[in-house]
């Protein structure tokens, strides 16, 4: 039995099921990170002193990472656009680049984290580091999750391009929406933690 409106659009709503699903999921994600940002504000305003992010964290590395993530969002759009133009080879290329840039982000983050640990800066050291590790850690989990989904569409999931190209393109678009969201979270995280 097939579920209607997975591929074709329902005329009166103008949407497929997956499109509604991913936006609802992103709404819940906004509430998740929103709660963490709100907690950050509450703890910071209640603190007698709060370190300037740039005195503890490595701003140049994070700037580089910001550029990497924004770049990966661009390649993600290109991957989807390639499918729209029925160019599967280009899709493989751009999707591969997206995943690769995700790896670069995680590797840079690994060096940032280990530099902190070397200087004996842990989540338990103070609340600035606590919120830093919690927010960036949760964000890294999202990056890894997005990469896993993208890797699936790059690899085994790509079989669907032969059997149901429209559905496959939709799924890549939904995965892209999530990837842009993860990018957007970082764009809020970067100034909040590193610059303010």
């Amino acid at each position: 039995m097939d579920i209607p409106y997975t591929v074709e659009i329902r005329r009166d709503t103008g949407l497929t099921n997956g499109k509604i699903g991913i936006w609802l999921f992103l709404a819940s994600e906004v509430m998740l990170f929103g709660a963490l940002f709100a907690s950050y504000i509450l703890i910071r305003t209640g603190a007698p002193s709060w370190p300037h992010g740039s005195t503890i964290l490595n701003v140049p590395l994070a700037t580089f990472n910001t550029i990497v993530l924004i770049g990966s969002s661009v390649t993600m759009v290109m991957a989807w656009a390639s499918l729209m133009r029925k160019d599967f080879g280009k899709f493989r290329l751009y999707m591969g680049a997206t995943i690769l840039l995700g790896f670069v982000f995680l590797i840079v983050k690994y060096f940032e984290y280990s530099a902190k640990f070397e200087h004996h800066l842990y989540p338990s050291t103070n609340n600035f580091l606590a919120i830093y590790f919690t927010l960036t850690g949760l964000h890294m989990l999202h990056v890894a999750g997005g990469m896993a989904v993208n890797a699936y569409f790059w690899g085994p999931g790509a079989k669907q391009w032969k059997t149901n190209p429209v559905w496959f393109t939709n799924r890549v678009e939904h995965s892209g929406l999530f990837w842009h969201f993860v990018d957007l979270v970082w764009i809020f995280l970067f100034p909040t933690l590193y610059l303010l």
């Binding site: 039995m1 097939d2 579920i3 209607p4 409106y5 591929v7 074709e8 659009i9 329902r10 005329r11 709503t13 103008g14 949407l15 497929t16 099921n17 499109k19 509604i20 699903g21 609802l24 999921f25 709404a27 819940s28 994600e29 509430m31 998740l32 990170f33 929103g34 709660a35 963490l36 907690s39 509450l42 703890i43 209640g46 603190a47 007698p48 499918l83 729209m84 842990y122 989540p123 338990s124 050291t125 103070n126 609340n127 606590a130 919120i131 590790f133 919690t134 949760l138 190209p165 429209v166 393109t169 939709n170």
Partner: protein
């Protein structure tokens, strides 16, 4: 928002109904993606957890009625947890925390949303299944893992969580390892709810039958729809809070630990600077909408049963729907009325008590509309209707006793007393759980093709109705006498409580006798699956679309794709041949 090469015309799914692949046992009954099987899995697991949570409470009630005396029957079975058969305070605290957690997150919500939502909602909107069947299966198994984690936590060193279902910091952070299990269990349960909520909303919007506009929805569909938005948007902040509490416990952070915290005469070595009230804000930001997650599906079930058994349309259907939406929205801005005692200041208290008074209006509108719906009807007093009728005054008592708690000034003496326990149990136990029983009796024929026994059902109802009041009514007196909740001896250590302590005994016996009245239900439930009276597809002469499907509905649900031609409750239409005109009949 463009769709590549999309076909704009909705295709009929009639073509897909003919073939049914034969599935093996595991795919058909265990790892099933069929919404009906998942609904029944959720329902039965939820009922089992309700029974387990009730059993924990029956144990607690022993120590409240007879503090310090050896627990009879099972006191010796629990070994070293109950030295000499008597209950130590730590064990009572485990029971208390886990009773609340299990009843709310593993009993009522899974049964009301996961069970009835999954089984009934797609049928009522004429859909072949949920929009994302595999996500649906994942939702159930995530819930299941959460439940297993909670149950296993009883066996870790130090026992299960002991900080109440609210897990207030800093107590919960310095608690034994059971609390970590509680947090991990909650993450599973939250994930399950999120997946379910996404599925319900998408299904309702996308898969409703042709002609089924939003204002033609049965009230139950509306209730589930609004509930799903509450789950979707209120649960993530608790997930964030659970992550932070986990960090506090595991990574040694101080999100919820203030500077200079002293525990057992020793200063806790931590960075400090955290805010214990932050936990309360994040917790109640979920937990107040959660109250409406508990009650809205119940209202939906009651509305269905009442319309069907009064043989009349619901009175004020549109007002009820608008109230429901308003209620859902308002439930996000009342949370701090749980926190008047934290010294939040008069400006904040004034804001939250105002929103709290405002939110009582739509609740009253819905309840009033349901009561007026009874007016002039030729009521059929079958078992589902009795439970639905029982819901009305019980939820009324629960709601009205909540008003003094919503007002800052009268909340302060009543806060954290048995009055609060009485209030919310009236809402949830004889309120929501009665509605859930009504739903079980009402939709049982759809799930099995057989009716449950009416005589046993009436015994179940009358016994439960009387006992519920015996259990919870005395709590108002206990509370107004000033007896605090969460005392493991029920207040026996306090002089001022002595004149009302006998009420604890009344309450306890009410609970134990109520357990006996659940036996007819348990027997009836299993007996009727195989031996109940066989009935047709529409035994209640109901109008909504789920009754157009065969009982039990096959994979894919409907023999013909249903089309909605009219509103949901066209009962006793003048000039019609019968006293009901189904939505799906042209």
């Amino acid at each position: 928002m463009s769709q590549p090469g999309a076909v704009a015309a909705p295709t009929s799914h009639a073509a897909h109904e003919a073939h049914h692949e034969a599935l093996g046992f595991w795919r058909a009954y265990v790892f099933s993606v069929d919404h009906k099987v998942i609904g029944i899995q959720y329902g039965i697991t939820g009922l089992l957890f309700l029974f387990f949570g009730f059993s924990l409470m029956m144990l607690m009630r022993w120590n409240l009625a007879y503090p310090g005396e050896a627990v009879p029957l099972i006191g010796n079975l629990l070994g070293e947890r109950l030295p000499g058969g008597t209950m130590p305070p730590e064990f009572y605290n485990e029971l208390g925390a886990m009773h609340g957690t299990i009843m709310v997150f593993l009993g009522v919500v899974p049964l009301a949303v996961g069970g009835f939502g999954n089984f009934v909602l797609p049928l009522q909107i004429g859909a072949p299944d949920m929009a994302f069947p595999r996500l649906n299966m994942l939702s159930y198994w995530s819930f299941f893992l959460g439940g297993v984690t909670m149950l296993l936590s009883f066996f870790v060193p130090g026992g299960a969580a002991q900080s109440g279902w609210t897990s207030y910091a800093p107590l919960s952070i310095i608690a034994s390892s059971g609390q970590t299990w509680w947090l991990i269990g909650m993450v599973f349960l939250i994930t399950s709810s999120l997946l379910g909520a996404i599925n319900f909303i998408t299904t309702t919007i996308q898969l409703r039958a042709k002609g089924l506009t939003f204002m033609r929805f049965p009230f139950f569909v509306w209730a589930q729809f609004v509930t799903s938005f509450l789950l979707l948007l209120a649960f993530p902040p608790l997930e964030a809070a659970a992550v932070m509490q986990l960090m506090d416990r595991v990574a040694g952070t101080s999100f919820f630990l203030p500077s200079g915290l002293v525990v057992s005469g020793q200063v806790v070595q931590n960075a400090g600077g955290g805010n214990p009230l932050l936990w309360q804000h994040l917790f109640w930001f979920l937990a107040h909408p959660e109250v409406y997650v508990l009650i809205l599906p119940a209202m939906g079930i009651v509305a269905e049963v009442i319309a069907n058994n009064t043989r009349k349309p619901l009175w004020g259907y549109r007002s009820m729907v608008y109230s429901l939406i308003f209620l859902g929205f308002m439930s996000f801005i009342v949370w701090a009325h749980h926190m008047f005692m934290t010294g939040m200041g008069t400006a904040m208290a004034a804001f939250f008590q105002t929103t709290t008074m405002i939110i009582s209006i739509p609740s009253v509108v819905i309840l009033t509309a349901l009561i007026i719906s009874l007016w002039g009807g030729s009521i059929r007093f079958n078992t589902p209707m009795l439970f639905a009728l029982g819901f009305l005054p019980m939820f009324g008592i629960g709601g009205l006793t909540g008003l003094p708690l919503g007002l800052n000034v009268s909340d302060i003496p009543l806060h954290d007393t048995y009055y609060v326990i009485g209030h919310f149990h009236y809402v949830v136990a004889p309120g929501t759980i009665f509605a859930l029983f009504a739903g079980v009796y009402y939709w049982f024929p759809k799930a099995t093709g057989r009716k449950m026994n009416e005589t046993l059902g009436k015994i179940h109802f009358l016994g439960s109705f009387v006992c519920m009041n015996v259990v919870f009514m005395p709590m108002f007196w206990l509370g107004m006498a000033g007896v605090s909740r969460r005392l493991y001896d029920g207040g026996a250590a306090y002089d001022f409580a002595q004149p009302v302590l006998h009420l604890n005994v009344v309450s306890s016996w009410g609970a134990w006798i109520m357990a006996l009245f659940q036996l007819p239900f348990i027997f009836n439930f299993f007996w009727s699956i195989w031996k109940g009276e066989k009935v047709g597809d529409n035994p209640w002469d109901a109008t909504t679309i789920e009754w157009a499907a065969p009982s039990p509905p096959p994979h894919g649900n409907f023999a013909h794709v249903p089309v909605a031609h009219r509103g949901p409750y066209e009962y006793s239409v003048p000039g019609a041949a019968r006293d009901f005109v189904p939505q799906h009949e042209a």
